[in-house]
C-alpha cells in the first residue's frame, strides 16, 4: 500500500483460506509439542486469572481451597497464562494488520442487545466451569488431545458438538 489513507479507509481483508489457516494452526500445535512438550491451551490461563483475581479479594480463601489452592501463591506463573497472553497479542496484531478491529457487540441485525449479552455471559460461565471439569477447552482438550488421538479428548470434542447442536436451535434468535 502506498498511501496510508487509502489502506485505512479500505474494508477488512478477506479471511485466509481456512485450510491454510488450519495448517498454520496445526504447525503451531506441532511446534508446541516439539519445544514445550505440551499442546496448546487457553482455558487454564483464564482460570488462573480468575484464581489471581479472587486471591486479591480473598487470599486466605483461595489458598485454602482445594482446587485453586493447589496452584500456589502465584497462579500466574504458569506457561498457559503466557500462552493466553500470546494468543491475545497474536490476535491483536493480525486483527490490526487485517483491518478487522471493529468495536461492537456482535449479533444479528434485529437481535436485542440484552439477549446477546445474556447469552454471552451465561455461555461464558458454562464454558469456564466445563473447561475446569474436563481439564481443558477446545484448544487444550479437543485440538491438542485430538492430535495425539487421546480417547477422552476425542469424546470431549464429540460431546461439545452434541451439546452445541442440541442448544443452537434455541439460541438462534441472537443471530437474526
Amino acid at each position: 500500500m502506498e498511501s496510508n489513507d487509502s489502506s485505512s479507509s479500505a474494508g477488512p481483508k478477506p479471511y485466509m483460506n481456512p485450510y491454510v489457516a488450519g495448517v498454520v494452526l496445526g504447525l503451531m500445535l506441532l511446534a508446541s509439542f516439539l519445544v514445550l512438550g505440551v499442546g496448546l491451551g487457553a482455558s487454564a490461563g483464564i482460570a488462573r486469572i480468575g484464581a489471581c483475581l479472587q486471591g486479591c479479594i480473598l487470599p486466605g480463601h483461595v489458598q485454602g481451597s482445594e482446587y485453586f489452592g493447589s496452584w500456589g501463591t502465584d497462579p500466574l506463573r504458569y506457561y498457559l497464562v503466557y500462552m493466553f497472553a500470546g494468543t491475545l497479542l497474536g490476535g491483536l496484531v493480525s486483527a490490526i494488520v487485517s483491518r478487522r478491529v471493529q468495536p461492537q457487540l456482535e449479533r444479528g441485525a434485529t437481535a436485542p442487545r440484552r439477549l446477546r449479552i445474556l447469552l454471552a455471559l451465561v455461555g461464558g460461565v458454562l464454558v469456564g466451569f466445563a473447561s475446569r471439569l474436563a481439564s481443558g477447552c477446545t484448544s487444550g482438550q479437543a485440538l491438542t488431545g485430538g492430535a495425539i488421538l487421546a480417547t477422552g479428548s476425542l469424546l470431549f470434542l464429540v460431546s461439545v458438538f452434541a451439546g452445541g447442536y442440541a442448544t443452537a436451535y434455541f439460541v438462534r434468535r441472537q443471530w437474526q
Binding site: 479471511y15 500445535l29 481451597s65 491483536l92 469456564g128 474436563a134 477447552c137 488431545g145 488421538l149
Partner: protein
C-alpha cells in the same frame, strides 16, 4: 533427538514462558486469520451456514497429528518428551456437553474469545468475564465435585488402542475421515448457504491428495505408537532385560571382581545388599552395604558410570535388584555370579581344599586373593 521443556521438567522456567508466549502469538494469529475473531462466523457451524470451524480445527488436528507421528516414526522425538492428556470418561463427556451448550450460546470458546477481545468484540469481553466467573464457581464447588472430576479415570488412553488398531493405521483412517469431512463441509455450505467456495476446486483436490499421501507414508513407517510410551516402551525394556539375561550380560564372574578389587579398580562399586548385621559379620573387602530399597538413590552418582556389582548370599535378590535398576536406566549394573557363596567357593577356598587338583599358577593366584580378602592365606573361610 529433541528434549522438550516438559521432558526436562522445565515448564515452569522463564524460557518455557517465553516459548509459550511465542506459541500463543502464532496461535492467536492463525485463529484471527481464519476469521475466529468474529462470534457470528464461529456460530456458523451450528447452523451449517459456515463450516470454517470444522475445516480449520480438523486441518490443524490432522497437521499436528501427521507431523507428530511422522517425527516419532523417524525417531526425532521420543514419546516420553510429550505430555499425553489422560482420559477421564465421565468428566470429559459431561464437561464436553456443558461446554457445548455454553459454546452455542456464546459462540465463543476461550482461545477464540481472546482473539475476539483483540478484535474489539464486546461479546467476547462479556464471555471472558463469564468464563472467569465459571472457573471461580468450579473452584467453590470442587470439593463436592471431586467424584465427578475423577469419574471414569482411565489414565493415558488412546483411541486406536481402545479400538485395537495400530496407531499408524488409525492415523491413516483419521486422515481419510478428515478429507471426507472437508468435502462434506463444502457441500453442506453450498446446500445451506449457497457458498462452499472450495468445493471441487483444484486447491481442495490437491490438499486432499497431500493429506492422503502423508497419511499413507506414515503408515508405511515402523509404527512407533505414541504413548506406546507405556505399552511398547515397557515391553521393549523387558525384552532387552531378557536378552541381557540370556546373553549372560547381566552378571559378572567372582574371579574378575576379585582381580579388579585387588588391582584397586576405582570404577568398580561392589554393593552388599544383605542386612547390616550380615555385612558386619563378613563382607567382601571393598564392598559397601546398602539395602535394595535405597539402591537407586545410593547409586545415583554411579548411574552409567563405571561398574556396579550387586551381591547377596545367593543370586535371587541381586538379580531382581539389578533388573529394577536396569529398568530405571542403569545400564552398568551387574550381579555377582553365584553370589557370596560362589565368591567363597571360587575365590576364597584354599587350593588344598578344592575338589580338582589346582595347577600351580592358579594356586598362587588363590593365595594372593586370600591374602587380599582375608588378610592371610591360612585363614579359614568364614562361616555364614
Amino acid at each position: 533427538m529433541i528434549t522438550t521443556f516438559f521432558g526436562s521438567d522445565a515448564l515452569g522456567s522463564n524460557g518455557a514462558f517465553l516459548v509459550a508466549l511465542m506459541v500463543g502469538f502464532g496461535f492467536g494469529l492463525a485463529l484471527e486469520l481464519a476469521g475466529f475473531g468474529s462470534s457470528r462466523k464461529l456460530s456458523g457451524i451450528f447452523y451449517f451456514r459456515d463450516m470454517t470451524v470444522l475445516k480449520v480445527m480438523f486441518t490443524a488436528m490432522i497437521t499436528a497429528m501427521l507431523g507428530l507421528h511422522l517425527l516419532m516414526a523417524v525417531g526425532m522425538i521420543e514419546s516420553d518428551q510429550i505430555y499425553f492428556l489422560p482420559t477421564v470418561y465421565g468428566a470429559q463427556i459431561l464437561g464436553g456437553l456443558i461446554f457445548g451448550v455454553g459454546f452455542a450460546m456464546s459462540a465463543w470458546c476461550p482461545g477464540t474469545a481472546a482473539v475476539g477481545v483483540a478484535s474489539g468484540r464486546l461479546d467476547a469481553v462479556i464471555f471472558l468475564i463469564g468464563a472467569v466467573v465459571g472457573s471461580v464457581l468450579f473452584n467453590e464447588v470442587y470439593s463436592a465435585l471431586v467424584p465427578v472430576y475423577h469419574w471414569g479415570d482411565a489414565g493415558v488412553n488412546f483411541v486406536w488402542a481402545a479400538l485395537g488398531i495400530p496407531a499408524n493405521v488409525f492415523v491413516l483412517l483419521f486422515a481419510c475421515v478428515a478429507v471426507a469431512a472437508f468435502w462434506g463441509a463444502e457441500w453442506t455450505e453450498k446446500k445451506v448457504a449457497g457458498t462452499g467456495a472450495y468445493l471441487g476446486t483444484q486447491f481442495l483436490k490437491t490438499f486432499s491428495i497431500a493429506i492422503l499421501v502423508v497419511g499413507v507414508a506414515q503408515a508405511f513407517l515402523p509404527s512407533v505408537n505414541p504413548g506406546g510410551a507405556t505399552l511398547t516402551g515397557a515391553n521393549a525394556g523387558e525384552t532387552s532385560l531378557l536378552a541381557a539375561m540370556e546373553a549372560g550380560e547381566d552378571h559378572i564372574e567372582p574371579e574378575e571382581v576379585a582381580d579388579r578389587l585387588m588391582a584397586g579398580d576405582k570404577t568398580l562399586v561392589l554393593v552388599d545388599i544383605r542386612t547390616p548385621a550380615e555385612f558386619a559379620a563378613f563382607h567382601i573387602r571393598g564392598a559397601v552395604n546398602a539395602s535394595a530399597a535405597e539402591l537407586p538413590q545410593y547409586l545415583a552418582p554411579n548411574k552409567n558410570q563405571g561398574t556396579i556389582v550387586l551381591y547377596s548370599n545367593g543370586m535371587t535378590h541381586p538379580a531382581q535388584a539389578r533388573d529394577a535398576l536396569a529398568r530405571m536406566g542403569f545400564s552398568n549394573a551387574y550381579l555377582l555370579t553365584d553370589g557370596l557363596n560362589g565368591f567363597m567357593r571360587r575365590v576364597l577356598k584354599p587350593a588344598s581344599l578344592r575338589e580338582a587338583p589346582v595347577p600351580s599358577h592358579p594356586a598362587a593366584k588363590i593365595r594372593a586373593w586370600r591374602l587380599f580378602f582375608l588378610g592371610s592365606p591360612e585363614s579359614g573361610v568364614p562361616r555364614q
